[in-house]
């Protein structure tokens, strides 16, 4: 038997049968498994409420207080986020795994200077860092911003610049895994492309893995070699992006792909819709 880990090293992220739920409700995410090696990029797509953001938060160990991982393991760089203590989780967050969260105008503290917010990510893991200003300047330079921007407050920057700052924060400690949850939904299309180019380049440079959570099929098609499709809490499709787009296995993926074709061809009167599909037809699901 071939030992995969011996060839690729420890995978950046490995999910084994992960189920997540809130309060006493049915699972929001049910038995998801996949492995993501360093240097690879995966796009997780799905409609609102399919559980993709919950998945991202669970990997960070940052579920809201009423949410919990009910089963399975989440291994980041070989360490299990589910069973470890909060103190150890904190050591991984922002250090081995970075998060870029949706809208940068709300994920930056409006009352603190940009430089301070980047420095916070550094000192959280190395409190005695010397020449912190140099590190901040370097981090800003890394995402195409000037060192002087460290003195700015978030409201003094444009949306694209703010998202660059968020990327700088996520990457400042050279993580093995970067989770980007809808990182560009608040930006216009041109800025979106610039920011994604930057993110892709910086992640690749570090040989880190990228988990891109989005509802935009086009973004995934352009930038991710792997695609996962989530539907009603399940990972219904997983594989090479080209294969998923040309030969989807699941009816939901098929409908999704047809939708985007319909827009491009624009000879259809109406967009195709999912008529009816139930997990039960494939056997077994919690009542939703």
């Amino acid at each position: 038997m071939i030992d995969v880990e011996a060839i690729h090293g420890t995978p950046a992220l490995r999910l084994q049968d992960v189920s997540i739920g809130y309060s006493h409700f049915a699972d929001a995410v049910s038995s998801i498994s996949f492995t993501l090696e360093r240097g690879r990029r995966v796009g997780i797509i799905g409609e609102s409420g399919c559980g993709k953001s919950t998945l991202g938060l669970a990997i960070m160990g940052l579920l809201p207080w009423n949410g919990e991982v009910r089963a399975g393991n989440i291994l980041i760089d070989g360490a299990d986020m589910v069973t470890m203590r909060e103190r150890e989780r904190r050591r991984l967050r922002g250090n081995r795994v970075g998060l870029i969260y949706q809208d940068a105008s709300s994920s930056l503290d409006p009352l603190k200077r940009v430089g301070t917010q980047i420095a916070e990510a550094i000192t959280a893991h190395a409190p005695k860092t010397k020449q912190i200003n140099d590190r901040v300047a370097h981090a800003l330079d890394d995402v195409g911003l000037a060192a002087a921007n460290a003195q700015n407050y978030p409201h003094e920057l444009s949306g694209g610049m703010r998202q660059r700052v968020a990327i700088a924060i996520a990457l400042v400690n050279d993580p093995v895994l970067v989770i980007a949850d809808e990182p560009t939904t608040a930006l216009d299309v041109t800025t979106q492309a610039h920011v994604l180019d930057l993110l892709e380049a910086r992640v690749t440079e570090r040989d880190a893995a990228l988990l891109l959570i989005t509802h935009d099929l086009g973004v995934v098609a352009d930038r991710c070699e792997l695609t996962g499709v989530m539907y009603r809490g399940r990972l219904v499709e997983w594989g090479d992006t080209s294969r998923v787009l040309t030969d989807p296995e699941h009816p939901y993926t098929r409908a999704l792909v047809e939708c985007s074709h319909a827009v491009i061809d624009s000879d259809a009167d109406r967009l195709p819709t999912m008529t009816s599909w139930d997990h039960d037809e494939e056997g077994g699901d919690d009542a939703l």
Binding site: Q102, D109, A121
Partner: protein
């Protein structure tokens, strides 16, 4: 920045002037004759007329107001109608104990309210929520003088652990008056037992005054923290690897501070301007007792000065709050410039 501050300062001055004019007129329009109050029922008409002429009471209201303002700013505050004592002396003796009580109450309640609001919101804790809500209802609902009486009854009568209506210090201690602030004077005298004694005398009045203030502040800050705590930047801070407590303290608290600051300013102003009933309960030698006596006697010379002083304190505190807000929230300046 400078223009913002000077504009606020101008507004502050205007509000002091406005408050003093309103109080000046209202107090004089209200029925009652200060000359009769001061000289008693057996004074002759000539004596009354002489008293009015001496104190400018026979002149028009604008003339009286102008004379008052001129004298106030030149430091000539006149004499009390009732006791004949210099008004400056009366306030000199009583202001410090009131300010001491107000400031200590303010510091203790703000610190306690901030801490409790943080602890009860950074993670859901239902029992603590309920405790704080109960305390807040009692604090807002019960009148301060009643709370004071109950506290004296329980902690000074039934379990005699704290001094009750005994002023600032036991008679057994004697400390030279330097600043008038008992905590400062005892320390200046190097008399640590007296300092401790002064603290024990502060506990019940501070608790009485502070309960309502605490209830008000903790509710404002909690509501504000709960709203801010759900925002993404708190989660984003946690994603950097800091603990929930640190993320909350650093980011949520800072963002929740603006309404708290405004409320604190109002509260400190009120504390400085009037702790009248509580001072009466605890026999505190502050301006409260002086003021109630002077209002009863229609002693214009004392009341006018008090209104001026308390309006100044109130407005000054709120002016300071405006300036501090600039430090807390850099966006205010930008809003102003638009």
């Amino acid at each position: 920045m400078i223009s913002y501050i000077s504009r606020r300062f101008g507004l502050a001055l205007l509000s002091i002037l406005g408050a003093s004019i309103v109080a000046f007129i209202v107090f004089r329009v209200a029925p009652g004759d200060p000359a009769r109050q001061a000289l008693g029922p057996f004074a002759s008409d000539e004596q009354l007329a002489q008293f009015r002429a001496d104190n400018l009471l026979d002149q028009s209201l604008p003339a009286q107001y102008w004379a008052f303002i001129r004298n106030f700013f030149t430091g000539d505050w006149g004499y009390s109608y009732g006791s004949g004592a210099k008004v400056t002396t009366l306030f000199g003796d009583t202001l410090a104990p009131t300010i001491e009580l107000a400031v200590v109450t303010f510091i203790v309640t703000v610190a306690l309210a901030t801490w409790l609001a943080l602890v009860s919101t950074y993670r859901p804790r239902r029992w603590l929520d309920r405790l704080i809500n109960a305390l807040a209802y009692v604090g807002l609902g019960a009148p301060a003088f009643w709370v004071g009486l109950v506290l004296v009854l329980v902690f000074s009568q039934w379990l005699p652990v704290l001094p009750g209506a005994e002023g600032q210090l036991d008679f057994t201690y004697s400390v030279p008056t330097v600043t008038g602030f008992m905590l400062v004077d005892t320390l200046l005298a190097g008399d640590l037992p007296a300092f401790g004694n002064a603290i024990t005398h502060l506990i019940l009045p501070v608790a009485t005054l502070g309960l309502a203030v605490f209830a008000y502040l903790v509710r404002i800050l909690r509501a504000s923290l709960l709203a801010v705590g759900d925002q993404q930047f708190v989660l984003a801070a946690e994603a950097k690897g800091v603990s929930r407590w640190t993320a909350f303290r650093r980011h949520a608290l800072h963002n929740a501070l603006l309404p708290m600051l405004t409320a604190s300013g109002i509260v400190l102003g009120q504390l400085l301007a009037g702790t009248v009933l509580v001072e009466t309960v605890f026999n505190w030698p502050g301006v409260g007792n002086l003021l109630t006596r002077s209002i009863g006697l229609k002693d214009y010379s004392v009341v006018d000065v008090f209104v001026m002083l308390s309006a100044t304190a109130y407005v000054l505190v709120n002016f300071i709050v405006d300036v501090v807000q600039l430090r807390v929230d850099p966006r205010i300046l930008q809003e102003e410039q638009k």
